[in-house]
């Protein structure tokens, strides 16, 4: 702790930005650990001589921001010393996405990888792509129709 806390030499002294950066890095490391190798392969399940290992794809996204500042007024009165003010803050957010990718099956006949198809995701993507294409088709058709009408008017006039 500094001897005179009311006379900071700059924002770095007030907020200890290095400590903030360390804290942020710690949070980032913990968050990114969620997408580590342990999360990709689940606990193997052994049942009647068959081993099943679930696999998943894990995506984690994290954004962090922080800042601070301080200032002082130079005016000094008899009863009151110079005024100091400071403020700071930070925030962040993130999300972890995980979905099954495949299942490893090992039994007496050998080892094989069974894919996991996310029908809901594919269906939603197909509907979105189809809707976009239909919208684009009608938009282009409308533009072409307007162009031909303008050409006819020009020919008449």
């Amino acid at each position: 702790m500094s001897e005179n806390p009311t006379s900071p030499s700059g924002p770095a002294d007030i907020f200890n930005l290095n400590a903030m950066a360390d804290f942020t890095q710690g949070a980032v490391d913990r968050f990114l650990d969620a997408a580590a190798v342990d999360a990709v392969y689940g606990e193997p399940v052994v049942h009647e001589g068959q081993m099943i290992i679930p696999t998943a794809e894990v995506i984690s996204v994290l954004g962090v921001g922080y800042g601070g500042g301080g200032g002082s007024s130079e005016s000094e009165t008899e009863n009151k010393g110079p005024d100091y003010g400071s403020g700071g803050g930070g925030g962040g957010g993130g999300r972890i996405f995980s979905r099954p990718a495949a299942i490893i099956v090992a039994d007496a006949s050998g080892v094989r990888v069974e894919p996991v198809v996310d029908v809901t995701k594919l269906g939603l993507a197909a509907l979105t792509a189809f809707g976009f294409m239909i919208g684009m088709f009608f938009r282009m058709r409308g533009a072409k129709h307007l162009e031909s009408e303008l050409r006819q008017l020009k020919d008449l006039g």
Partner: protein
């Protein structure tokens, strides 16, 4: 810290009936410069199988959903270009 890193990890090998199963995964990490924005993507890569007779086999793990999504995106892009050319 580098902006973009790609690492391959070996998960704990599993043994069943003398067969050793060693899964591998790929860990891709990115940090945007000038922003505290981090992205990590872990995906299963392949499985190395070592049979009791010494035979070794590498089975790739294909994410069918992702392949289908990429295919759909490419089909949509090509379809949009074809529509555009047809409407001209």
């Amino acid at each position: 810290m580098p902006i973009f890193t790609v690492n391959t990890h070996h998960a704990l090998p599993q043994v069943i009936g003398g067969t050793v199963i060693s899964p591998r995964s790929q860990h891709i990490q990115a940090q945007l410069p000038f922003f505290e924005l981090h992205l990590a993507w872990s995906r299963p890569l392949d499985v190395t199988v070592l049979y009791p007779d010494g035979q070794q086999q590498v089975i790739p793990i294909v994410d069918v959903t992702r392949v289908a999504l990429i295919g759909m995106f490419l089909f949509g892009s090509v379809g949009a270009l074809v529509l555009r050319r047809m409407m001209r």
